[in-house]
């Protein structure tokens, strides 16, 4: 899945700004430098696979819930027809890195869900075949198994269903239809053997999606410094981050939509909220009118998929699925796990740093008629924003510790130079949403 695009130069600039400091940051894990970039900017798959092997995810017993997950809830999240087996996971892993599933053999799941980049692509929006850009930011595939719906507008109910769509979306992997995807693999003797072993059948599209989903269920990375802190290791996070955790639950009101517990350890309520990100650049009413006309003719999941990835109607978010006016501009709360290593942020990748994200929420989001009722100015001081951000960087799994440190330094550097979403007059209630912006002298 991919998310927003506007015009080439802007996106390219965004991608460069995102990636280049990483290159300077050092050689680790191969992200960044032109020499290390594979097709569509992805890290070469051999490097990705080497990093994945080092994670040791295959050592975890498949019949047990991942660490940090309630066993009953975990069992309830696995469909009866796709029980986890080593054969299915192995097949899914191979398919995840299989560019032959794309029309021109250049795109695989791992192109946009790059292991070295926290299973995202570190770009505002993703690039598919023929260098086409979508409209939305690629959410991480990590821990996606615990989400209650897939895609940022929740148009897909399960991982199994989600995995089908990018393969045949014209600007992602671009296969003309499901049969073509099957045909691309069916002649391969190794795949014939693997499908037989995993599902006892010949290569078929349903099992391609099932196997990818099975593999994704092994990508549960929930072992962060914060988890050690919760388990009683008081020094696992800094005193600053500890204050951030208190703010997270209190004044900053994060916990309302980003709840954490063993039954739901991702920090997403699975609900859809208009926090005003899309209100910055769209006229909702015009778009919604147009969308209703189109959906009247075809509201299939494939039509939704294309409208979400290829048109301005992407910004309508959940409304496209439900056609319920209160869902206009609403997107599912993103998980907060590994947030430090999955920039840029928001459904359109429009925020480069976690400081930008905090600035956005601090001013109460972007005013619009469909703004979520839970949004209001937070009056967080600069010190408090730093504390929440310090806390957010403790949520990265230990296996991404180096990348997390690099991202923190990189984002700090960017935030020192510019804070485009900062609006203290709004944050502290000196100006209300309906008042015109007055020029305030900046310190």
């Amino acid at each position: 899945m991919r998310q927003v695009a506007r015009c080439w130069p802007r996106v390219l600039l965004g991608a460069l700004m995102t990636l280049s400091p990483l290159t300077l940051g050092g050689p680790a894990m191969g992200q960044g430098g032109p020499a290390a970039r594979g097709m569509h900017g992805a890290t070469p798959f051999e490097q990705q696979l080497a990093m994945l092997d080092a994670f040791g995810l295959d050592k975890r017993p498949l019949q047990q819930a991942p660490r940090g997950v309630d066993a009953v809830v975990w069992a309830a999240s696995i469909p009866a027809d796709n029980a986890l087996t080593p054969e299915r996971v192995a097949l899914g892993r191979r398919l995840f890195f299989e560019p032959r599933l794309s029309a021109d053999g250049t795109v695989a799941c791992a192109t946009c869900h790059d292991v070295t980049k926290g299973f995202t692509d570190h770009r505002p929006v993703s690039e598919g075949i023929k260098d086409q850009l979508g409209r939305r930011n690629a959410p991480t595939a990590l821990n996606a198994a615990m989400l209650t719906s897939q895609f940022l507008d929740g148009r897909s109910p399960t991982l199994e269903n989600q995995a089908r769509l990018p393969i045949i979306n014209p600007i992602e992997m671009g296969m003309p239809d499901e049969a073509s995807a099957v045909k691309a693999l069916a002649g391969d003797a190794e795949y014939q053997r693997l499908f037989q072993r995993a599902y006892g059948r010949a290569v078929n599209f349903d099992d391609i999606a099932r196997a990818i989903a099975a593999f994704e269920r092994t990508l549960m990375l929930l072992e962060s410094p914060f988890d050690r802190y919760l388990a009683g290791e008081k020094n696992a996070i800094s005193a600053e981050a500890e204050k951030g955790w208190v703010l997270y639950n209190g004044k900053a009101r994060c916990q309302t939509c980003h709840p954490f517990n063993l039954s739901n350890p991702l920090g997403s309520d699975g609900r859809f909220h208009n926090v005003g990100v899309s209100a910055r650049h769209q006229k909702f009413e015009e778009l919604a009118t147009k969308a209703l006309e189109l959906l009247e003719k075809d509201a299939s999941i494939h039509a939704l998929d294309r409208l979400a990835l290829e048109t301005d109607m992407s910004e309508l978010g959940r409304f496209m699925v439900t056609r319920n006016p209160t869902d206009i501009g609403g997107f599912r709360t993103l998980q907060i796990r590994n947030i430090g290593v999955t920039p840029p942020y928001m459904h359109d990748g429009s925020m480069q740093t976690l400081w930008d994200v905090m600035d956005h929420y601090n001013k109460g989001g972007e005013p619009n008629p469909y703004l979520d009722g839970g949004m209001e100015p937070l009056a967080l001081s600069e010190e408090e924003i730093n504390q929440v951000v310090a806390f957010l960087f403790t949520l990265t799994d230990a296996r991404y510790a180096e990348e997390n440190q690099r991202q923190m330094e990189r984002q700090q550097e960017i935030a020192r130079k510019k804070r485009p979403f900062r609006d203290e007059a709004m944050a502290f209630g000196r100006r209300l949403a309906f008042e015109p912006v007055k020029k305030e002298p900046r310190p």
Partner: protein
């Protein structure tokens, strides 16, 4: 040096009616007189006592012996008080939290996202609630978890949280001389029979203990102030 006196109270504040005039009744005889090598442990009736060696290892077995010694004395003097058996039998295990699946039935509100619930929401509520209660059960049965020093844990006087009647708080407790909450009585028991430090009101163990004690009275009518 006089032997330290400890009141064993958990169970019986309930049993002990607040106006019982404990001071006028003759003391129950201790099995041994306190010496410099022993600690005196007192039941919450403020009369029944026993002594234990100061160097007694604070194991669960020893704790149970202390509690049993006090309880058997108390039962001898109150032959008709079979309350604990009755309550234990009615709540043999942790009852499940309320079944909230009904919120998924029928038409849900679609006009705001916070009022839309999924199976996962309902499962999360159930599991997380049950886990807090289970954690409470663990602490309730574990003297060490409460930092108890003589091996006594809550269940030794309150099997399955019997006779804790959380549904009657807040109420005026004469032994404390003020209106108290359940957590105040838990702290009272921690200091006296369990011989553990008091817990802060937001101590995770205190929150869990309250959760467990309340869960065990599922279905009982709230009647605050009842004695």
């Amino acid at each position: 040096m006089y032997a330290k006196r400890v009141a064993i109270g958990a169970l019986l504040w309930l049993g002990c009616q607040t106006g019982s005039g404990a001071g006028q009744t003759p003391r129950a005889r201790s099995e041994r007189a306190p010496t410099e090598e022993t600690v005196e442990v007192k039941l919450c009736d403020d009369r029944t006592t026993t002594t234990v060696p100061k160097d007694m290892p604070p194991t669960r077995e020893n704790g149970q012996r202390v509690a049993d010694s006090l309880m058997s004395q108390w039962k001898r003097e109150h032959p008709n008080q079979a309350w604990e058996m009755k309550v234990t039998q009615s709540h043999p295990t942790i009852p499940p939290p309320a079944d909230n699946r009904k919120v998924l039935e029928g038409a849900q509100r679609t006009d705001q996202t916070y009022a839309l619930f999924t199976e996962r929401d309902v499962l999360t509520w159930e599991r997380e609630t049950l886990k807090l209660v289970q954690e409470g059960a663990r602490v309730f049965h574990d003297a060490e978890a409460m930092e108890g020093t003589i091996g006594v844990s809550c269940d030794m006087c309150h099997p399955d949280a019997a006779n804790t009647h959380p549904e009657t708080y807040p109420k005026f407790q004469t032994q404390l001389g003020r209106v108290v909450l359940l957590r105040d009585m838990i702290n009272w028991c921690l200091e006296h029979p369990v011989k553990a430090p008091r817990m802060e009101p937001d101590d995770p163990r205190m929150r869990a203990l309250e959760a467990y004690i309340i869960a065990q009275r599922k279905g009982v009518t709230l009647e605050y102030g009842k004695h």
